[in-house]
Structures are given as C-alpha cells and as structure tokens.
Amino acid sequence: MVFELRPLAYCAALTLAAAVAASPGAFALDPARIADADKTPADWLTYHGSYKSYHYSGLDQINADNVKNLEVAFIHLPGRSTRGLQTMPLAADGVLYYSGSYSRVFALDGAAGKLLWSYFPELNEELVAQQTHSPYNRGVALGHGNVYVGTVDGQLIALDMKTGKLVWKNKLVNSEKLTVGFTGAPLVVKDMVIIGSQGGEWTSRGPLYGVDGKTGEKKWEFLTVAGTEDAKKSWGNESWRTGGGGAWMPGGYDTETNTIWFGTANPAPLYDWSGDKWKTEGPRPGDNLYTSSVIALDPDTGKLKFYHQELPHDAWDFDSAVGEFLMLDRDGKKLVVHPNKGGFIFVYNRADAKIENVWRIADNINFVKDIDPKTGELIGRRDLSLGKVSPPLCPAIAGGVSWNAGAYSPKTGLYYKIAQEWCMELEVVKTTPIVEPMAQLNIGATFKMVPPPDGKIRGHLDARDPVTGAKKWEVSYPEPPLASVLATAGNLVFVPDARGVLHAYNAETGAEAWSHYNGAGHNGGIITYSAGGKQYIAVPAGIGGMVSDDYPGLFGEPYKSMPKDAGVLVVYTLKQ
C-alpha cells in the first residue's frame, strides 16, 4: 500500500492529532489505531512502526532536499545505561515513550523534550548480575491506555500512559530458576499483550505469552521448544530438555487473517558435534522444532496455525529470532518477508508459510551451499564434528544479519537492510548436556571471529526488491551497523551506524544527504513522529550488546574508548 501524505492531508492529520491529544480520551490508545498506523503517520505506535514491519513513515516535512537543515531539538539522558541504549522509541499524540537499561521507562513531551514521567522498576539485581543478556531493554508497547515493558527478571509491567503509575505487573517467568527473562518489546494485538522470553543457550523452553492487557492475566503460553506432541518427537532422547528457542523480538500481525508471526531462536547447545548423523546422534538428535523457525499463531488462543522451520536442526546458531515480518502484496499474492540470521531472506505466502522465494543478502555464506528458493530446503548443509572446523564458518556467530530491523518504503518499493560480512574459526567441544535449569549458557565451542574470504570484515546497507532480492544500490561500512533503519516518505533512509554517526541517504540513489555524530555508537532503534506541527527524528545512542561487545577486540578504536555504560536519546528537527 502506498501512502503518500499531501500537505493538506498532513495539516489535517496534525490538527486531528492535536485535537485527540487535547482530549482526555487520548490516552486510551485503542489497538485499532495500531492496525491503521499507516493513516496516522504523526505517531509511531508499535515497535516495527506498524503491524506490517515497514519501519516507514508517511511524514515528509523532512525530505531529501532539506535534510541538511536538521539540527538537534533536544536530548534526554536516561542514566544508568549499562550496555548502552537498545530501545525503539514510540510516539503517540505528541508524547515520546522509550525504555532504557534495567527497563526504566520515560515519557517526554515530544515537542519540548521535557520529562512528563518516569518509572524505574525494582529488579532482582542479584539475578541481573548473573545474566549475559542483561540489563538491556529493546522497547515498550502501547495500548489500552497503558505502556507495557518486560524486564530481564521475567516481569511484564503495565504503566498508566498518562501518569506512569503502575497498573499491574505479572511475573511470567521464574527467571531465578531459568536465567532467561524479557529483553524485547511486547506486541499489542487487540486485547492482548504478547511477549516472548529469551531462550537460545539456556534450558528454558522459550515461552511466548499472551496476556490480557487490561488485567494482566496470562491467557496463553506457547513453548517454542517442543510446544506440541509432534514437535516433541523431533528431539531425540528427550533432548528437548536441553531447551533453547525463544521468540525474543516482537513479531508481526496479519490483520486480515488474525495471525501473529514470530521468529524463534536456536536450540541448545549452539554447536552440535554429531556431524551428518544429527538425525540420530549428538546432544539433540532431530529437527528440534520449533527452534530457528517462523511460527504463526492465533493471537487470541496461542494455538499454532502453521510454521516453517528455516533451519532444521540448526547447528550454527543462525536462528530466526529476527522480529521483522514485512507484509506486502505482489501480483495478487499476499507475502511476508523474513530475514534469517544465516544471511538469507525468506519470502513466504501469508496464508500458510509456503516458500515463495529465498534470496541471500550476505555475500559470505558457507554453512550451507544454498537454500532452495522453491522449497526452502537446505542444500549442502555443513554439519560440524568435534574438533577444529576448517575452513572458517561463514557467517560468524553474530550472523549475516542481526536483530536490528530493516525498513521498507512503499514509495520506492525498496527494502533497506543491513548485512554483515564476517566468519569465524571454530572448535567444537563435546559438552555435557544441561537438562535442568541453570544459571548460564550452553555453547559447546570455542571460536574467534575472522575476516571473510572476499576481504575485510564489513557491513553494508542494501536497497533491494524485497521479493526477488534484486539490488539497486549499496552503501558499505567498515564495521556492520547494529541499529535499525528508518525509511520515510521524504525520500530518505536513516542509518545510525556503530561509530555513532547518523546518516541520511537519498532513498532512490543511496547518495548521502546528511550526517551527524551522536557521541556514542548506535545499537538500538530510530523513529520519526510529529508533534506541534513539526516532524522529529528520535534516535537512541549508546552501544553495548552481544554483537557490539566484540567490536573493541575486532576493530580497536573508536570502540576501545567508547563507553559501554552511556546512553542518550537524541531528537532532531529542521532549523526554524
């Protein structure tokens, strides 16, 4: 759907937004507004911008011609930004909402930048000190008059959108037992708040929860590890007990079929030593459903409708946990596009997850020879045995893509997505199966990241057709950018890079139109919204996380000197 905002319509939308903001009911935020997010570009109501995962805004006050006039409107310091600021801010009715490390939540006046309220949850700090994916938080969700945030110690919290006061909280995960909690943003769908736990390297079975937004009552739970009897059979020797999985990034929602789509993470241990005998031997014989899969559920009941396992028996930690489910229609077909960490982009039919195409975005891939674009079958998979792996495995554990989202512009028809080029030397070590909850990881290897065969470690922003993968242009970076991408109707694509520079490119050509240094690396999201008649760009800066933690060792400066406990929300607008 092409949404082009004309000046008159723009003014009308702003007037309407202002009127809504002035009314007491403005804070109810009916989730139906999220379903119609395309129609209210002044807001950014959900993590992916809309249920279609476009990370696109119809705002065009800031455009390729005047972007050179951008300046900082205001900044906000969340404090205690251990491991940076990974959040995707949200905006509704002129108010900007965002979360920081330790799931601290802030509401700011979107035009003046003044703090309206803040909320600091009480966390189990002793547990936080034992976690690896801690204490960061990737964002909040809005709906039912509430702001929802998950915590690394397993709580889902609802705050009053207007006051920041606690409405309810529900300790969904016994994180003290299972180690895992919530790092990703929740997804609001109708009456429900849906949030997935981490999984991956732990014995947890990676639950995804549906919670009543008004009451906080848990309505359903879907286990991404052996969540059905059929799935249990895909884990030989009851190895489902070693766990993994998890759907730790918010997914998408198909409003036409009432279906939520989520991606799931890898099984544990990450690396299997059974080689080509993985169906019958090793620590987790079989396909290991529903890990490294896309799953389609009924949001009301949590029942599985259908799924596709992108990597049966994932032996490389190239999971499917990326949250983007780009929904678009092409040639009469209703499609959904989903990136896999292995560096492939899967295109599915939205009706049943049947494969429509698979194309590669990363240049350096050798964990398989290919993936069949008609069936999704892995061709020439490279299963690992004990000992040193040679040649190095590509991509490296950090993936051909990471969890940071790309953007799709219905105006240009292009998908703007970052890919990563790196490999790793690997030695697979036979570990003892961990079948009970414990406090730490289950990896099963030692490794070292190394340059790919075709040159230096690098990242690149590609502008491609999302269905065919045909490339229009590319911008290269010496280190892979680790933040999400934003596309706007102003013919712009924004890329916050890892060094701390925010770039704006012409969406048609890739020519850089503007850049500005934000003082620290970017490792989170970026949005645009409108307040008081002006368009703003909001981007968190502050680096730290499981991928960027490798950067000082890999690249030296400026990463060695970059603080890993700093965060700032920077908000831009046009000069008067």
């Binding site: 251990t82 949850p121 189990n124 002793e126 000190a129 034992q130 976690q131 690896t132 204490p135 397993g154 709580q155 006061k165 409405v167 309810w168 909280k169 529900n170 300790k171 969904l172 995960v173 016994n174 003290e176 037992k177 299972l178 014995t203 947890s204 079975r205 919670v211 009451t215 906080g216 739970e221 009851e238 190895s239 007990r241 766990g243 241990p269 030397e425 030695e427 070590v429 036979k430 570990t431 003892t432 961990i434 079948v435 009970e436 909850p437 414990m438 406090a439 730490q440 990881l441 289950n442 990896i443 099963g444 290897a445 030692t446 490794f447 070292k448 933690d549 490798d550 060792g553 890993k564």
Partner: protein, 160 residues
C-alpha cells in the same frame, strides 16, 4: 541420557604444552538447595538424575500496590564443597566462557584475552565469582570453588 563423569586433563602451558596437569577438584556432595546448585551438579554429573521440566511459572498479575515478587536465588548459600574427583576445566570453559573469551581464552573477544594474564589468581577467582556489571556475569552461584580452580588451571595452562 546419562553421561558418566570422565577423567579429565588440562593442558599445561609449560614448554610446548605437552605436559598435562591433573586437577583434583571435586566430586560434589549435593546439598538440597535448589536450582542453581542442582545446575552445578548437572554440569559435572550430566543427566544422571531425572530432569525437571524447564517450564516457566504461570502467575497471576499483582495489584499495583503490591510488592515485587520476592522469589530470588537462595541467599547466602555456598556452592557445593569439592571433595574428590576430576573436573574438566576445558569443557566447562567451552560450555560457558568461550562465548566471550574467544579462541578458548587465547584472544580478545567480548571479554579480554586470558592467556598469559598478568592478573593474580585471587583477582581472577574474584572476577569469576562476582563478574563485572554490564560486562561479565557473576558465576559465584554456578561454579564450586573446585570448578573455579579447574577453570583457573585451564586459563593458566593456555598457550598463546
């Protein structure tokens, strides 16, 4: 799928690494103290026991005025005492530590290079137990003193 505890050896850094150390560290007596310590046993003793299902707990929401959930890791509980037996520091390292300390601790990754570390034994033991906020998890409730000794021996035995 029970796995027996195997006799293990650690590389010694002396010379070309041909010499072997044998670290006597622990066969654990298992105090009945909950999941964290059970986990320690699991690492060493594998799945000899009937495993408990790793299910998340369902719970009702709390009213806004209520206190946060008080369930925490058992406070003040010591890791199990080491007695006799062997611990494979290299395997433990590959299971838990190699994710950050790359090449088995030989090169810098997310965490620092550990081979030929100038830090004292006391410093390394303290860091393993307490971690470093935002950088390294605290392993004091996961590893026994005997296991930490084995990991330290593994680190000290690393070649470049």
């Amino acid at each position: 799928m029970p796995v027996s505890l195997s006799s293990t050896r650690l590389n010694n850094s002396a010379g070309s690494g041909g010499a072997r150390w044998r670290v006597l560290a622990a066969t654990f007596t298992r105090p009945a103290i909950g999941a964290f310590l059970a986990a320690v046993l699991v690492i060493v003793l594998a799945s000899a026991r009937g495993p408990a299902l790793a299910q998340a707990d369902a719970s009702k929401p709390e009213a806004s005025a209520s206190k946060p959930d008080a369930s925490t890791a058992p406070a003040g509980v010591k890791p199990p005492e080491a007695s006799s037996g062997d611990i494979d520091g290299e395997t433990m390292f590959a299971t838990l530590c190699g994710f950050c300390h790359e090449s088995g601790g030989r090169t810098e990754g997310k965490g620092p290079k550990l081979a030929n570390s100038k830090r004292s034994d006391e410093y390394l033991i303290d860091r393993i137990k307490k971690g470093k906020p935002g950088a390294m998890p605290a392993f004091g409730r996961v590893f026994s003193d005997g296991q930490i000794t084995a990991i330290l021996a593994y680190i000290r035995g690393l070649d470049e």
